[in-house]
């Protein structure tokens, strides 16, 4: 574990470079955390508004009960389907009467006019349009409907958040990676003499690389952890405020944020640091060891 001590030693020797690298990963992670919050909040809204995000599919009138149940079983195997409720003609009539607070006598038709139908709950809200289209394409349904404009707006917003989020995240990731690569390169260059002495007295390349890569990894991990801690504090107060100001809105619980933020911040911070130092080592070390 001598290389871990060496990595700490190297970090202590270059406080200004370490601070720049730390801050670049720290701010990247803060941006990432805002998107994680947005994503989780959208998920929460989707679950909360579950009813309006249910697909209703009405079978063609001439379809037999057996055939309808067979199609229902097939649809259950679709990857985007979470749950399917089969509604018979009698159940549909009962629901209708119950909804309008009517009795059987108030409904004097001899033949039940309601078709067989399904209520399909998707696994993810954003998959509703695609799933509805798949159900329609089976050719067994007369009509397939879902929450209409609300869902479309929601899904559009959701996709926009994901697209913008992905682009921003990619850019900040690349930015912090470039910063780390260059800082580690400077760090290697400033230790050029030391590294060449190691090499001359018999150090393997692995021995020389270990503290450098550990240094990058630790820098990323610390910055990610710091971003996690700050985010937790900020989101704690923010959610308290939002829940008090808009109590009827489905805000996520603060505790639901902790695990995703901790995982993403430490993992991504560590990966940026590790990847940056690996790239820097590959590009500079050969030159230094010549």
């Amino acid at each position: 574990m001598g290389f871990v001590r060496d990595a700490f030693h190297n970090l202590r020797r270059r406080p200004s470079l370490v601070l720049i690298g730390f801050l670049s990963i720290f701010f990247t992670q803060l941006i990432v955390n805002i998107f994680i919050f947005g994503y989780l909040e959208m998920q929460k809204m989707g679950k909360f508004s579950g009813e309006s995000f249910t697909i209703k599919a009405y079978f063609q009138p001439d379809i037999s009960m057996e055939k309808a149940q067979e199609i229902t079983q097939q649809l259950k195997k679709y990857p985007n389907v979470s749950k399917i409720v089969f509604i018979s003609q009698e159940e549909a009539q009962e629901k209708f009467l119950e909804y309008f607070n009517l009795n059987q006598e108030d409904f004097p038709l001899e033949e039940n006019p309601f078709p067989l139908s399904l209520e399909v709950i998707p696994t993810r809200v954003e998959s509703i349009p695609e799933l509805a289209s798949q159900i329609k394409n089976t050719g067994s349904f007369d009509e397939v409907i879902y929450g209409g404009k609300n869902v479309d707006v929601f899904v559009k917003f959701y996709h926009m958040l994901l697209s913008v989020g992905s682009i921003v995240l990619f850019l900040v990731f690349i930015f912090s990676l470039i910063v780390i690569i260059n800082l580690i390169r400077i760090s290697i260059q400033s230790r050029k003499e030391e590294i060449s002495v190691f090499h001359l007295i018999g150090a393997t390349e692995t021995f020389i690389r270990q503290p450098i890569i550990t240094e990058g990894f630790m820098e990323g991990l610390f910055a990610g952890s710091a971003a996690f801690m700050l985010s937790i504090v900020v989101f704690h107060f923010l959610l308290d405020f939002l829940q008090a100001a808009f109590p009827f809105f489905p805000w996520i619980n603060f505790t639901e944020l902790i695990l995703p933020l901790l995982t993403v911040d430490t993992f991504m911070g560590g990966v940026v640091g590790l990847l940056g130092s690996l790239i820097a080592c590959n590009s500079v070390l050969k030159e230094v060891l010549k």
Binding site: G2, S196, L200, I201, G202, T204
Partner: protein, 222 residues
């Protein structure tokens, strides 16, 4: 096969300087050798060829059964672990302590901490540097740095020691002590020691083979 064998070695730098020309000699294990010659004769180049810091332009250099000039880069660290080198410019790391500089060769070899500590304390005592153990190299005097360079070269008990002008910055008494340490190491450990020097007085104080180089050519083997 000799311990070290130079076979018609030429080294011509890209600048056109002919550092070594048609140099051939053999060294057996356990020999104590002085490499002499004026400044610029090619002594340092010869040392660098053994350590594979440089490659010969032509000819072969053997270290036991290994042809150093054709050794794969991956094996280079393992060759160098057999060597203890006192560099002309010492190559100590000023920002590290005496102890840290001293134990580099042992750390590289993955020696356990308690054994490192034991070996290092032994060397520090031998070199009378115990009080300087935790001092940074930049705080040491020239003579103390030279001692530390010697300690780093011997701490891992190498089979071959290369000392490039180790007496350059020392007074006669210190130079004598340093070469005496190398000489005793050679005798006690049956190691091969090559000392490049142009200090005649030191040269005359110790028995040993003398290789004389002038203008890149081996002109004497006594």
């Amino acid at each position: 096969m000799a311990f070290i064998d130079f076979d018609k070695v030429y080294k011509i730098y890209t600048t056109g300087v002919k550092a070594l020309q048609n140099v051939s000699f053999s060294i057996e294990e356990g020999e104590f050798i002085f490499l002499i010659g004026p400044t610029g004769a090619g002594k340092t180049t010869l040392m660098k060829l053994i350590n594979r810091e440089e490659l010969p332009t032509s000819g072969d250099i053997w270290f036991e059964d290994f042809r150093i000039n054709q050794l794969d880069d991956a094996y280079l660290p393992y060759l160098r672990r057999n060597l203890g080198i006192i560099f002309q410019d010492l190559k100590l790391i000023p920002s590290r302590s005496v102890y840290e500089n001293l134990i580099f060769p042992l750390q590289i070899m993955g020696i356990k901490k308690n054994l490192i500590s034991k070996l290092a304390n032994g060397i520090l005592e031998m070199l009378e540097l115990q009080d300087r153990k935790n001092h940074l190299v930049e705080w040491l005097s020239g003579g103390e740095r030279q001692k530390l360079g010697l300690g780093r070269a011997l701490i891992h008990q190498p089979r071959l020691v290369l000392a490039d002008e180790p007496t350059g910055h020392l007074d006669l008494c210190s130079a004598y002590d340093l070469v005496k340490t190398l000489y005793l190491y050679c005798r006690e450990e049956k190691a091969t020691v090559i000392v490049a020097t142009h200090n005649d007085r030191v040269l005359k104080s110790f028995p040993g083979r003398i290789l004389q180089i002038e203008r890149g050519r081996l002109v004497g083997d006594m």
